[in-house]
């Protein structure tokens, strides 16, 4: 870059030193201001992540003299059929819930995009599910899924989708469906509000110009709305997917030990097994982390693709 600068400005342009550049940009003050945050993140987030890698290679970190066992914990976890099933469970959950939440969120956003009386109340009402702790939401839906007070159980039994005495959370697919329903209930409002914010930034002139040209509502949706939403949508999808892959609370309540997600599997391995299971549990959490990295890379690629095309 220095060579290019030298070409365009052939006179005395010397590249300022680092110290000068810092002074030009506000001095050392900003670094002081962000220092506490960066230190905190380093110690509380980065250190445990790195340490989890270390622990996953030990036999038992709770001993005073743990020994290094290489990748044994990983092979142990990956050869456990329960874990492999949990991977399938979690991925299935992630795909379905993210798609559902995005489509429903889009629908709701379009619905409340126009002003109408009581709109603020509606926004507040749909925000309510988001405010509850996930585990409490799970408990509330459990009151509808269980065999004693479960209204949903009753309805499904009346429709003969469930046999008498059986509940939705009695089978693996049922637990997954129950988790998807509860997660969709909790998160769709958030997606809807996010998309709504994106919708309201689209200038109305675009729509007016299009309707003068005689386009139909559907065409305007496809050609104007969707492309303009792409940016916020991708970001929302990225965060939702990462959230979904680490799903814990829902499967802890609905699936317990029999139908785990990879995060709840890791938790049971670490805290409800023998001391020997702790390190394999940590190995399982590292695998969750790897899944997260893969998802992030996929989305980064998608986002780069869309910005380069524009």
């Amino acid at each position: 870059m220095t060579a290019q600068v030298a070409e365009s400005l052939p006179q005395e342009v010397t590249k300022p030193s680092l110290r000068e550049r810092i002074r030009m940009h506000g001095g050392y003050l900003p670094y002081l201001l962000v220092l506490p945050t960066m230190l905190l993140i380093l110690v509380i987030a980065i250190y445990p992540m790195l340490d989890s890698l270390r622990i996953s290679l030990l036999n038992n970190p709770l001993l005073s003299q743990p020994s290094f066992v290489g990748l044994r914990n990983y092979t142990r976890v990956l050869s456990d059929p329960v874990f492999i099933t949990a991977i399938g469970t979690t991925i299935f959950f992630m795909l379905i819930s993210v798609v559902l939440e995005t489509m429903l969120g889009l629908g709701i956003a379009l619905l409340i995009n126009k002003t109408f009386p009581g709109r603020g109340l509606v926004r507040a009402a749909i925000l309510v599910p988001w405010a509850f702790p996930t585990v409490v939401s799970a408990q509330m839906w459990l009151l509808m899924y269980n065999d004693q007070t479960g209204i949903i159980t009753y309805i499904l039994q009346s429709m003969h989708l469930l046999s008498a005495g059986d509940t939705l959370i009695g089978s693996r697919i049922g637990v997954i469906i129950a988790s998807i329903i509860t997660d969709t209930w909790k998160t769709t409002p958030f997606m809807a509000l996010l998309i709504l914010a994106g919708l309201q930034v689209i200038p109305t002139e675009l729509y007016e110009a299009a309707s003068v040209d005689g386009t139909s509502r559907w065409q305007r949706f496809i050609r104007i709305t969707l492309p303009m939403l792409k940016g916020p949508l991708l970001i929302a999808l990225l965060f939702r997917s990462l959230d979904a892959i680490r799903v814990f609370d829902l499967f802890y309540v609905f699936g317990q030990r029999s139908v785990p997600s990879i995060a709840s599997y890791a938790n049971f391995k670490m805290f409800a097994g023998t001391a020997e299971d702790f390190a394999p549990g940590v190995a399982a959490t590292v695998i969750v982390f790897l899944f997260g990295i893969v998802i992030s890379l996929v989305f980064l690629f998608l986002m780069r693709e869309s910005t380069s095309r524009n």
């Binding site: 550049r21 810092i22 940009h25 506000g26 003050l29 900003p30 201001l33 962000v34 945050t37 960066m38 905190l40 993140i41 509380i44 987030a45 445990p48 992540m49 989890s52 622990i55 619905l111 409340i112 002003t115 009402a125 749909i126 925000l127 405010a131 509850f132 702790p133 996930t134 585990v135 409490v136 408990q139 459990l142 009151l143 004693q148 007070t149 479960g150 209204i151 009753y154 209930w185 509000l193 914010a197 930034v201 109305t204 007016e208 003068v212 005689g214 139909s216 940016g231 970001i235 929302a236 965060f239 609370d249 995060a263 938790n267 670490m270 805290f271 702790f278 940590v282 959490t285 997260g292």
Partner: protein, 302 residues
């Protein structure tokens, strides 16, 4: 927003009159509007139905709870579940724990967050994008992966297991990214010349801060506080793994103690859920506009 001539526009989807309101959005009175209202009503019902079911479950008598089919409109009104919940040995302590942990963590997050957000929003310093990206990246961490090492640390060399500190520390990781993201966006929108003109007028630094900057930033900081409080209150994973009893357990863990292996006290579970969620419902209803702006800040502006 532009208000164009509407008489000459040919629009296909409805043949009813269109009126443009002041804000430039359309009101179309037709079957479409009716359908829209029905759909919105449906969404609201679905959103609030579980809350309703939990409430009536909490006030049904024991006899009615066991009724089959379950009753949609309760015929009894019995507060004994609430009595049992409040007199249980662990519920109120966990409620207090949650309140203290959420409050302290929020204060800390605001402290760190305001400093960092001010720097990021106002000063264009070298490495700024690196700082911002690393803060956002923390949001993408699988927190379950932090649990193992923290457990080893807090039961070993840094023995704070089952104390408030054991939760405050990881909960900061939960709220800091959100807080900084929101505050940065908020500070960016503040007019920059206000601080400078006040300074030029000869007002002392402290006066400037108190009379001008604080009132300007108060709404944003307040909104950030609400978001942060809710985020910490909702934590379950750290509370479950880094505490062992009601000495430091948050209420999210406390509420699961109503499910024992054999007998699930559904009535009490429902009552506990109502107690935990009512304050949140009130918070949301009162501050929904601020909360919404907080959640969507930066997502659209980038």
């Amino acid at each position: 927003m532009a208000i164009g001539a509407h008489s000459s526009l040919k629009v296909r989807d409805t043949d009813h009159a269109r009126r443009r309101s002041r804000s430039g959005e359309e009101h179309t009175w037709s079957w479409g509007t009716f359908g829209r209202y029905i759909a919105v009503a449906l969404v609201v019902v679905v959103a609030l139905a579980p809350l309703y079911w939990t409430f009536i479950t909490s006030v049904k008598s024991g006899v009615e709870l066991n009724a089959s089919p379950p009753t949609l409109f309760p015929t009894s009104f019995d507060l004994s579940n609430y009595v049992l919940v409040f007199s249980s040995s662990f519920f109120l302590p966990t409620l207090r724990n949650s309140a203290i942990i959420s409050a302290v963590t929020t204060v800390l997050a605001l402290l760190f967050g305001v400093l960092s957000a001010y720097a990021i929003a106002r000063i264009d310093f070298l490495g700024k994008s690196a700082v911002l990206s690393s803060v956002l990246a923390v949001n993408m961490f699988p927190f379950i992966a932090m649990v193992g090492p923290l457990f080893v640390l807090f039961t070993g060399p840094f023995y704070i297991y089952n104390t408030y500190l054991a939760l405050i520390i990881p909960d900061l990781v939960l709220t800091l990214p959100l807080t900084i993201w929101f505050l940065t966006s908020f500070f960016r929108d503040l007019p920059a010349d206000l601080e400078e003109s006040a300074r030029v007028d000869g007002a002392s630094r402290l006066y400037t801060l108190w009379k001008i900057i604080v009132p300007l930033t108060a709404p944003g900081v307040f909104a950030a506080a609400i978001l942060s409080f809710i985020a910490v209150w909702n934590d379950f994973l750290f509370g479950l793994t880094l505490t062992s009893d009601e000495q430091a357990q948050p209420v999210t863990v406390g509420i699961t103690r109503f499910n024992s292996e054999h007998v699930v006290a559904y009535g009490q579970l429902a009552a506990a859920a109502i107690v935990v969620t009512i304050p949140l419902v009130i918070l949301v209803l009162l501050f929904q506009r601020r909360i919404v702006s907080g959640l969507t800040a930066g997502a659209v502006k980038g």
